[in-house]
């Protein structure tokens, strides 16, 4: 099945192929923000297709849930942080409509270029209300209390200073508004963690290595281990002054969504 699917995907690997490395010798920690920025620039060309492949398309459902939990409605001005290639931004724009506005921010120039290309290829009028910003989640370039809702999908786990990012999101939200944060679930269940590790080691990394991206997707496993559990995320939200915070496990417990209210 993996082979059949691989033939269906764009042959980015043909242009990028390099000798398959011994993974034990070349795995480097992806610690600082600059390393992570470079990583997301490198995976940008295949990011969307690999998301579909690895989640068997389920990421689209989880993202719809994230948008729904944000409380976004027509006419709102909303923020998507770590927008990547724009999946959440496009969903948000359908909700806010032509009278609303979506501001979508990411620090990866390559991901933003793909997002802007996808926007120009789409015909729905509401997509024109999305503005892309190259920016840093820990230094948001927005004035206080600007947004009616915010989302961040598969981003918070990749931010080195998560507390600062949460503080920034708190400040730019209007009082009473919510941020909806989707990511992998760092499960407290050892069974879930083991299955998650197995899936990354035995499915994700081998497929990614076909695209010369083994190191980049190996990072995924370590980033989940270093992430916060649902309880820890709720606690962090409280510490940065969100009035309410609730974490929901979804995707059979492999994914989770924190909803925090300013």
């Amino acid at each position: 099945m993996a082979t059949t699917l691989q033939f269906a995907l764009p042959s980015i690997a043909g242009r990028r192929r390099r000798p398959r490395p011994d993974s034990r010798s070349i795995i480097r920690p992806v610690r600082c923000a600059a390393d992570r920025q470079a990583l997301f620039n490198r995976i940008a060309p295949v990011y969307d297709n690999l998301n579909d492949l690895f989640s068997l398309g389920r990421h689209r459902v989880w993202k719809r849930m994230t948008v729904s939990w944000s409380g976004v409605k027509e006419g709102d001005t909303v923020l998507d942080v770590c927008c990547g290639s724009g999946d959440l931004a496009f969903l948000l724009s359908e909700k806010v409509g032509i009278t609303g506005k979506v501001i979508a921010l990411d620090f990866s120039r390559e991901q933003l270029q793909i997002a802007a290309s996808r926007q120009s290829e789409r015909s729905k009028a509401c997509y024109k209300n999305i503005e892309w910003i190259e920016g840093d989640a820990v230094n948001l370039p927005f004035s206080k209390s600007s947004f009616d809702a915010a989302t961040i999908g598969y981003g918070l786990r990749n931010i080195v200073d998560r507390r600062k990012a949460m503080e920034e999101m708190y400040k730019v939200l209007k009082p009473g508004s919510k941020v909806s944060i989707l990511d992998f679930n760092k499960s407290t269940s050892s069974l879930n963690s083991s299955i998650q590790d197995w899936m990354i080691d035995c499915i994700v990394v081998p497929i990614a290595s076909g695209y010369g991206l083994a190191n980049e997707y190996h990072y995924l496993k370590n980033s989940i281990k270093e992430y916060l559990t649902g309880n820890e995320l709720e606690k962090l939200a409280g510490e940065v002054s969100f009035s309410e915070a609730k974490f929901y496990e979804i995707g059979a417990g492999f994914m989770g969504n924190l909803v925090a209210t300013r």
Partner: protein, 85 residues
């Protein structure tokens, strides 16, 4: 209605919408930014930094900021010089 369209068109030609311009601030100082149409950039006057707009996308990561060398850069029609130090 006509005047608002004009404002929107003017900002669009400069690279960002007026609605966006109302929300954007300097990522470091959180102070308002000034649009410079000649250089197609956003100026943070309080710290003398210019953030470029490329292909309609403002680059507002702090490290994208270009330090303006002098008061002349703030007002001149030439693009600001990159800080060499």
């Amino acid at each position: 209605m006509v005047r608002r369209s004009g404002v929107l068109l003017k900002s669009a030609a400069a690279g960002i919408s007026s609605r966006l311009a109302e929300i954007l601030v300097c990522p470091l100082t959180k102070q308002p930014l000034r649009m410079c149409e000649k250089t197609n950039s956003l100026i943070s006057d309080s710290i003398g930094v210019s953030y470029p707009i490329v292909d309609g996308i403002p680059r507002l990561v702090p490290s994208d900021g270009i330090i303006l060398q002098s008061d002349q850069d703030l007002n001149s029609s030439d693009p600001p010089q990159t800080n060499s130090s």
